[in-house]
């Protein structure tokens, strides 16, 4: 199985520093030969490394506006996070009209699809029987994190597609069923969504045709938004739908008493650990977002997440009075659910054979005990334990640890000194043993 990723390394820019390795939630990065490299099976495209790299050597493979010409008819599906990139005086309608100005034939807000997911979620929560809390499926980095690190939680993921996917299905099945060569483009705050289209998780194929990063489109879009002759009334999402861009937006939109919202990948990791231990009680729904502040903190945005979040709150607030209603027809056949199982991923598994895996594990423990435990990163692995794992699976050597190396050199020099002062018995005055 091939692993397609959107997060890639720009080798020329990478200085081989170790900033990224300790931030990766799946320990997917190693620095080797002076450059970072990503272990494909482990990467969840969360974008954490893009965020922390001081040399901007990590980036995401985004599509560009050039791709529009491959289609006869194109529709932009902007994530509501896009609205938070613009100052308050840019209205949502203005931003949507500007997207058409850039060449899209129509726009359909992901936030409008989020409203549909919300009503579906509400129905599900009302009829819920089991006690386990459900986990939102909307953040693809979180879903991938569960696949790799928390397989025991997989069956708790809500089996409703993401707003992006649902928007694309509605566009193709309900709004423009007669259009042939139609291209649906998601305007994305994060690399995880790019991967979610190239390699979908819960469905066999994505209905989205391209994903353009917000930071890729922002400058031309900003210019267009400032020069509009006429602003069309294009926005149809509700207060809640737009609120999905920030943390707590999704969970609050369910209007369900027992929900919780967790944001930031480190916090999500800790929360899931406790959830797995059975420690989290009295929660029915968990909104988990990989980025700080929710999608507004996405690695491909341009504005500070907290500024963006504040703007989203204000822009969404204006929609409380004004409800234009969504475009999903009551007789729609749009499929909202996922059509395949979400499988665990074996990125962390040591060996397919249980006995061999155990042997390797015992060796890892042994080596880890001999390493200094400083997690300094000089060996290119995020922790001493990760180096021990790498040594056992054969991708690193014990001498990669500078402390082990120093000890070896010490031994060697001690031996050398001893040998250097060694005299043959002919010249030396040795004490005879009595």
């Amino acid at each position: 199985m091939s692993n397609i990723h959107s997060v890639i390394l720009d080798k020329d820019k990478c200085m081989g520093c170790t900033n990224c390795i300790s931030h990766c939630p799946t320990e997917a990065i190693r620095v080797r030969h002076g450059k970072a490299s990503i272990i494909d099976e482990r990467c969840i495209d969360c974008g954490e490394c893009i965020r922390v790299c001081p040399h901007h050597a990590k980036r995401a493979q985004s599509d560009t506006l050039d791709m529009l010409k491959n289609f006869d008819f194109t529709v932009a599906v902007p994530a509501p996070t896009l609205y938070g990139q613009f100052k308050d005086h840019f209205s949502i309608d203005q931003i949507l009209t500007a997207l058409k100005e850039l060449g899209f034939d129509d726009v359909f807000e992901a936030a409008e699809a989020a409203d549909i997911v919300t009503s579906e979620l509400k129905k599900k929560l009302k009829n819920k029987k089991e006690k386990v809390p459900w986990i939102s499926s909307s953040c693809p980095a979180v879903v991938r994190l569960i696949q790799i690190r928390f397989p025991a939680l997989l069956d708790q993921i809500v089996r409703i597609e993401s707003p992006m996917e649902i928007a694309a299905r509605i566009i193709k099945n309900d709004i423009y069923p007669e259009k042939k060569n139609i291209g649906v483009f998601f305007i994305s705050p994060c690399p995880a969504k790019i991967t979610a289209v190239k390699k979908p998780i819960g469905s066999k194929a994505s209905s989205v045709d391209g994903v353009i990063a917000i930071n890729e489109i922002f400058l031309p879009l900003h210019a267009a938004a400032g020069n509009l002759e006429k602003v069309e009334e294009l926005g149809r999402a509700s207060y809640w739908g737009v609120s999905w861009a920030r943390s707590e937006g999704e969970s609050h939109s369910t209007e369900w008493p027992e929900t919780v919202a967790v944001d930031g990948i480190e916090n999500v990791l800790k929360f899931f650990e406790e959830l797995e231990n059975g420690k989290i009680k009295h929660v029915d729904f968990i909104e988990a977002m990989a980025c700080p502040g929710g999608c507004v903190g996405g690695a491909l945005t341009v504005e500070n997440p907290y500024i963006s979040k504040a703007r989203i709150i204000r822009k969404a607030g204006k929609l409380i009075e004004e409800d234009r209603g969504g475009r999903l027809k009551p007789d729609s056949h749009a499929v909202l659910g996922m059509d395949t199982d979400i499988q665990p991923k074996q990125g962390l598994k040591l060996d397919v054979d249980f006995k061999k895996a155990l042997e390797k594990m015992a060796k890892i423990e042994e080596i880890a005990n001999e390493l200094p435990g400083l997690d300094c990163g000089s060996c290119g692995a995020p922790t001493c334990r990760a180096l021990a794992e790498d040594i056992v699976v054969g991708t690193a050597k014990k001498n990669d640890c500078i402390f082990v190396l120093r000890d070896e050199i010490n031994h060697l020099t001690e031996n050398l000194a001893e040998l250097g002062s060694w005299m043959p018995p002919l010249f030396s005055e040795r004490e005879e043993k009595e």
């Binding site: 690190r149 650990e273 420690k279």
Partner: protein, 139 residues
């Protein structure tokens, strides 16, 4: 000899480390490719027992052993011991102080929960001397 075994200390003075042993062992089981439902049960049972060792036993030591067909988890402490094990096995029984209960810990010893999630639970305890809990989970 066991295929895999590991010993560790349980420090009751560091709230940040509560549950650390369980988390580490969970990671080990995942790396070994143990099926998720077993990991889930192990996690719940071990975490409960680890917290007991901290809250009621004042810390102690533990070990995990993996054999061909089962896992053993052992926690030992030199705490006050459990005077009536049968009573402690009942849902809701607790000796935890009220502050600790307010932290959300110690609402019952969690022994019924450990039992429910394991294939064998053995408790040896002597009042004033300490407690040893052995949990077996079949693979």
């Amino acid at each position: 000899m066991a295929l895999f075994s590991k010993k560790f200390d349980i420090d009751s003075n560091d709230p940040m480390a509560y549950g650390q042993a369980s988390s580490n062992f969970k990671k080990t089981l995942k790396q070994l490719g143990i099926p998720s439902p077993i990991i889930k049960r192990t996690a719940i049972a071990m975490y409960e027992a680890e917290i007991n060792t901290i809250i009621h036993g004042g810390g102690g030591s533990g070990s995990v052993v993996i054999e061909d067909d089962h896992i053993l988890i052992i926690f030992e402490d030199q705490g006050p011991g459990i005077p009536d094990i049968e009573l402690a096995m009942q849902e809701g029984y607790s000796t935890a102080s009220s502050e600790i209960r307010e932290m959300g810990f110690g609402a019952g010893l969690g022994l019924p929960n450990i039992k429910k999630n394991s294939n064998g639970l053995d408790i040896e305890s002597e009042p004033g001397k300490g407690t040893k809990v052995t949990i077996r989970i079949d693979l």
